[in-house]
């Protein structure tokens, strides 16, 4: 129990404090890198909520990120303050997730994965063709005067990552999380022991859409330019999957570990082998699936993996 408190309470708080004071200590370059780490962490944890917990693998979670990114790109030039824009982006993602969840969660296994992938493509094409609203394929460029500065964006992203981790932390130890994991194990059996599977999946799906929506808005504020390919980027979705699966899906620490590992690796490889970057991620994914299906975290003590020992 003692060890569990250290790992699950003290350590996260310590990491959060370090991340909070970082802007006072590090260069702009490293701050920018930190922001990207938190962005990926928030996305990875949100993917973890729907796909890691329930086993409904989504290849289209990035669609909510794109919706958020475009919401910001369209609203900020109208003179709106950035803070409510984050809220509106989140809301737009949720509004999209409501009907989508009702439609796609009826599908099981690969059909759900493919439906979400197709959906992201459809929305990307709409964003390309709806030139009046999105400026089409040339994308939207925002003047820096409209945007918050780097350290503000850094803190926004940090908060979103912390919220995403907090959601997983709470869900994982809750009855709701247990239901989600039972769905992942055997959906029909879960339903037969009283789990309202449709409802549980739906709530997880909508929750997992909200965070990318918010993250997308902050990405636009940070990057000051988006186009359909960068907003609805399938490879961003692949990165979420790799990070979660590398660390350990359905867990609290797994995606954190996975994000840090992949981002660290990328930082090292990016400079030397930019062209091979995606290929290397692919190889990592292959290795995990073959040799470490439960991720790096499965190499650690089960005491750490199980959040609280219920038998005391």
């Amino acid at each position: 129990m003692h060890q569990q408190i250290i790992v699950n309470i003290t350590l996260p708080v310590f990491l959060l404090i370090c991340a909070g004071i970082a802007p006072l200590l590090v260069s702009q370059y490293h701050l920018s890198f930190g922001l990207q780490v938190f962005m990926m962490l928030a996305l990875a944890q949100s993917w973890n909520l729907i796909s890691g917990m329930t086993g409904y693998i989504s290849f289209g979670q990035v669609v909510f990120f794109g919706i958020g990114a475009y919401t910001a790109a369209i609203l900020l030039p109208l003179g709106l303050h950035w803070l409510p824009v984050i809220g509106v982006g989140t809301l737009m993602a949720i509004l999209l997730a409501l009907p989508l969840g009702l439609l796609t969660l009826r599908l099981r296994g690969p059909y759900f994965a493919i439906a979400m992938l197709g959906l992201n493509e459809v929305v990307r094409i709409i964003a390309t063709l709806w030139v009046d609203l999105t400026n089409g394929g040339s994308g939207i460029s925002l003047s820096p005067t409209l945007l918050p500065d780097l350290s503000t964006n850094y803190y926004s992203m940090l908060i979103l990552a912390a919220v995403a981790c907090g959601i997983i932390w709470v869900v994982h130890g809750s009855r709701f999380g247990l239901e989600l994991r039972a769905i992942r194990e055997d959906e029909a059996a879960a339903e037969m022991v009283g789990v309202n599977t449709t409802y549980a999946k739906f709530v997880a799906f909508v929750g997992s859409a909200a965070i990318p929506g918010a993250v997308g808005t902050v990405f636009t504020m940070y990057n000051s330019y988006i186009n359909p390919t960068s907003a609805f980027a399938p490879d961003l979705n692949i990165q979420m999957i790799v990070m979660v699966m590398l660390g350990g899906s359905g867990t609290f620490w797994g995606p954190i570990l996975g994000t840090v590992l992949v981002m660290g690796l990328r930082e090292i490889l990016w400079a030397s082998l930019p062209a091979l970057h995606m290929a290397i991620l692919g190889v990592i994914l292959l290795i995990i699936v073959l040799f470490l299906p439960n991720g790096v975290l499965s190499l650690t003590s089960p005491k750490i993996r199980i959040r609280f020992d219920l038998t005391k």
């Binding site: 009855r175 247990l178 992942r184 194990e185 059996a189 037969m192 022991v193 599977t197 219920l310 038998t311």
Partner: protein
């Protein structure tokens, strides 16, 4: 007790009317009618492929492709989703164990509880009764097949069901655990829980069941007490005949 309460007790806890289920050309259930009285243990027997599992699938709502009607304690549960039926007090186990492999044994029990309160103590108590408490934190997948079947049985007890459908609960379970299982069935039944059990061992059927229903080719061939069933010519042909 007034007459209303007595009438209630005599009411069938489960009533099935005109239940039919086709798989392509196969009539897995062919116009099944039956009534199970409250507090009884009913044996459901029949040759392989006679529709026993299909009957459980349709009653419990897992298979929603059947026609006909089902009532639980006077309330229609026809077409309800399985989680609703479970929450109404009807639980069932699967013929092939379906323990959640990557959840711990304790979590396997907790997820099946219908109470909002923390049921950890209750779950541990159930595990103690079958001497599996030391496995509480073990993963479902790490148990033997027989232990998994037992866990699956304990799991549904977390909801205090009124009626439990057991599909060959003793298959693959070693004799010691088997005795534990039948003992629990008897004790629960003494407390008023109704059972419907698919079981191939006739000794067990004779010992436990006040009534036996024989299915053959999707139809109820005959129902009655063990003696009547055993001496019935049709049953001997359809069931014991083939078993020989």
């Amino acid at each position: 007790m007034n007459t209303v309460t007595i009438a209630k007790l005599l009411d069938p806890i489960l009533k099935v009317e005109h239940l039919c289920r086709n798989f392509g050309g196969v009539k897995a259930l062919d116009n099944v009618d039956l009534a199970i009285s409250s507090g009884s243990i009913t044996g459901l027997i029949g040759p392989n492929g006679s529709g026993k599992t299909t009957l459980f699938q349709c009653i419990s709502g897992v298979d929603r492709g059947a026609t006909g009607r089902v009532w639980l304690a006077g309330k229609s549960i026809t077409g309800l989703r399985p989680h609703r039926i479970y929450r109404n007090g009807l639980a069932r186990t699967f013929q092939l164990s379906r323990v959640f492999p990557q959840l711990t044994v304790l979590e396997n029990l907790l997820v099946a509880s219908t109470s909002k309160l923390n049921q950890t103590e209750r779950a541990l108590d159930l595990l103690r009764q079958v001497k599996l408490e030391s496995y509480a934190q073990a993963l479902g997948a790490s148990l033997s097949y027989g232990q998994q079947k037992l866990i699956e049985f304990l799991r549904v007890l977390m909801s205090d069901p009124r009626l439990i459908l057991l599909d060959e609960p003793a298959a693959g379970v070693n004799p010691t655990l088997r005795a534990v299982l039948w003992d629990m069935v008897k004790r629960l039944n003494a407390r008023g829980v109704t059972f419907m059990i698919v079981e191939h061992n006739m000794q067990v059927i004779e010992e436990l069941c006040s009534k036996v229903i024989v299915l053959a080719e999707g139809k109820v061939l005959i129902e009655g007490n063990f003696r009547e069933i055993r001496n019935n010519k049709q049953v001997l042909d359809a069931y014991f005949g083939r078993a020989r």
